[in-house]
Symmetry: C2
């Protein structure tokens, strides 16, 4: 299950346009820190900080070999966020279904 803490971190991570850009980039294949920084148009240092947030929330994984760190998507965080959204949407839809049924019953009972 998704604890409140976890949702907090994931959505906070996704709230930044640059971090989402990193995710979009990584869905198309692994990339190094420098490559990501170049694409974002910010410092390597800033990119490292973004990656830290993304990793803390299981949105990105990375491995350092030699002096170069290679990053790739970690689907766990995405799944967590998706699960929360689905829970809300389906809960709302089910409520509407029940509400609809009640209204149908009422109109049947009272006639038009």
């Amino acid at each position: 299950m998704l604890k409140r803490e976890a949702a907090d971190g994931v959505f906070h991570a996704l709230a930044d346009a640059n971090r989402r850009a990193v995710i979009e980039r990584l869905t198309r294949g692994p990339a190094t820190v420098s490559e990501l920084a170049a694409q974002l148009g910010v410092t390597v240092a800033a990119t490292v900080q973004h990656l830290q947030v993304l990793q803390d929330n299981e949105l990105v994984r990375s491995e350092k070999v030699g002096r170069v760190r290679t990053c790739q998507i970690d689907p766990a965080g995405l799944r967590n966020a998706e699960a929360w959204l689905q829970r809300q949407r389906t809960a709302w839809e089910h409520r509407l279904d029940r509400l609809g049924a009640v209204l149908d019953d009422q109109t049947e009972e009272s006639g038009s």
Copy 2:
């Protein structure tokens, strides 16, 4: 489609625990501003500000009748966020499929 701007707003809105609590509450039925404020444990003024953010990003709708404003879920924003997440996840899965196929071909060619 979901523009970058839209994603920015929706995820920012979802990044706050109190705003998510509002959404969770509203999936179980409409509520007034005061009710939401009471549940959150913050001022009515703060709640109004949260509602403003939620409405700007199509996560909540509200209507004022008399002196009381009643709020309910607006599924549009939730769908937007869900769509973005699904796009990333499926893009990543498709890429893995292609990669897997390539690796299979290679192992077939070279034998075990």
